[in-house]
Assembly symmetry: C2
Homo-oligomer: 305 residues x 2
């Protein structure tokens, strides 16, 4: 057994990365309830909203309304808002997010198709978002999409990713997260990525964001913890889907990670029964079964009746 690290902080991303990819339009009230339930389960960090263009991402159009229902009541928790540009960052500040998460893409074709920008444009945009965050006294995190592979360009080398990370570090982010956007990563990639990243900086935090598209999400998350990752993104119920494969699962399910971590003695501070309650409730809100394995199978050992 090589577990050096016995705890990891999970960031709940269902309210943003999860719901953003669902067809059902979830009410502002239910979005607020999802974040409240996440806090009840023990999360300190929730990616609550996205300040994307409402015309492009209508599911997130009520970001200000969601934050208005949360920010005044949860000053002690981290309410993260996603921003794709300076305009989004300004909205996040105005809406009283406590952290801004900016997105850079590691592969050129995905950057072009997904954000209509070059990788260089996105890297340059970091400075503007960082300035807005700094002026507001907020930490900025950066998610680096397609870090482990691109649906269009194929393999993305760790050298390429590290080259981008070196640029991003100049903006002094709170954390950088390696996102396996299409769920193609395998554990040795994760191990190498985090080792190389920590060789570049031990002062910032490192985060990973895994999708379970090819059934490697749990194995990758374990590898990340063993490599000393600071944060893991995960989504209650595994909500998120995958736009180009209807039946494929999206974000790795929070409860699936907490199950395996609990049984490995890795602390998350999260209550799995509350997570499973939330997962059932969210399944009702979305009107469909959710992909999490624990949601179907339940914990082991089974709870006494």
């Amino acid at each position: 057994m090589t577990q050096k690290q016995r705890s990891v902080a999970i960031i709940e991303v269902a309210p943003r990365d999860g719901l953003q990819n669902e067809k059902v339009m979830v009410s502002t009230e239910d979005k607020i309830s999802l974040v409240e339930r996440s806090f009840t389960a023990g999360f300190r960090h929730v990616e609550a909203v996205s300040f994307a263009n409402p015309k492009r991402v209508p599911q997130m159009a009520d970001a200000e309304g969601v934050m208005a229902g949360l920010a005044p009541r949860y000053a002690d928790r981290n309410l993260i808002g996603l921003a794709l540009n300076a305009r989004g960052a300004e909205r996040a500040v105005a809406a009283k997010c406590s952290q801004i998460n900016y997105v850079v893409v590691a592969s050129e074709t995905f950057a072009n198709r997904n954000q209509n920008a070059s990788v260089a444009d996105l890297v340059n945009g970091t400075r503007d978002v960082a300035a807005i965050a700094r002026a507001a006294g907020l930490p900025m995190s950066i998610s680096l999409a397609t870090s482990f592979g691109c649906p269009f360009d194929g393999e993305v080398s760790v050298e390429r990713v590290m080259g981008i990370v070196e640029e991003l570090l100049k903006s002094d982010p709170f954390d950088i997260g390696f996102a396996d956007t299409i769920g193609c990563a395998v554990p040795p990639q994760v191990t190498e990525m985090l080792a190389r990243a920590r060789a570049l900086s031990t002062s910032i935090k490192w985060r990973c964001h895994f999708h379970d598209t090819r059934n490697t999400g749990v194995a990758n998350a374990i590898a990340a913890v063993e490599a000393g990752v600071d944060f893991l993104d995960a989504s209650t119920g595994g909500v998120g889907g995958c736009p180009f494969a209807p039946a494929a699962t999206g974000n790795v399910a929070t409860e699936d990670l907490v199950y395996v971590f609990n049984r490995m003695g890795i602390e998350t501070g999260l209550d799995i029964d509350t997570l499973l309650d939330t997962s059932r409730w969210l399944s009702g809100v979305l009107g469909k079964p959710l992909p999490s394995a624990l949601g179907r199978a339940g914990v082991f050992p089974a709870r006494a009746a």
Copy 2:
């Protein structure tokens, strides 16, 4: 990276453990075709049939017919037959199986409910099956069900499992397989189990059989390879289901393992495109989507069009 072992032999169990748990009655012809397709994909070892009581397991009632269609043509491949007792072992010999797999259960309540026998009865039965196999010049493997946990008794200690293994070793089996019957295992259990097992014997082979019920199948399989396991059971398409949870996946999908192993540089000798073809074909035979992730998402990088 801690991969000491760069190859593992996968045993295809879809024809037996997979189909046995499906509601659809698959024709003898299609069962034979599934085994043929598995050999085409590169498997050396296939668990082809079960010699259970046809009244209890009607899906396997045509075991002799399946073997009659295979044994004369595949003298160079390993056609494994499952036997629950001496009667089954005699049928396996008569049907020209090249290996007999006998099942022992590690937990008392599961043994009682599933096989109407005590653990001691099943351990004692090993000697009879071993004698039949030896007389026929066939290797005997043993699958030890509920090695990592029992749906009724809960936790099963590694000490208890090792105590049973010590008894089983007296029959000099070719291999012993630790089965995670209800898919509750986590990687450190696998690591410890195999380390303890190898301390008991380095002359026999060790095998693991994982179910993906709680999304830990791939992580457990990786842990097993890293711990030097000789064989892994897996099921094309992830067929097998789970009798007490309709939507839950059963055996870990062969193609999901081969995807992650390919990208980790762990040799299996299997062709993933053939596996995916077989998975699609089997989905048609069973008339439903199969749980494998690779079957939905496809390989990465995507094949050139």
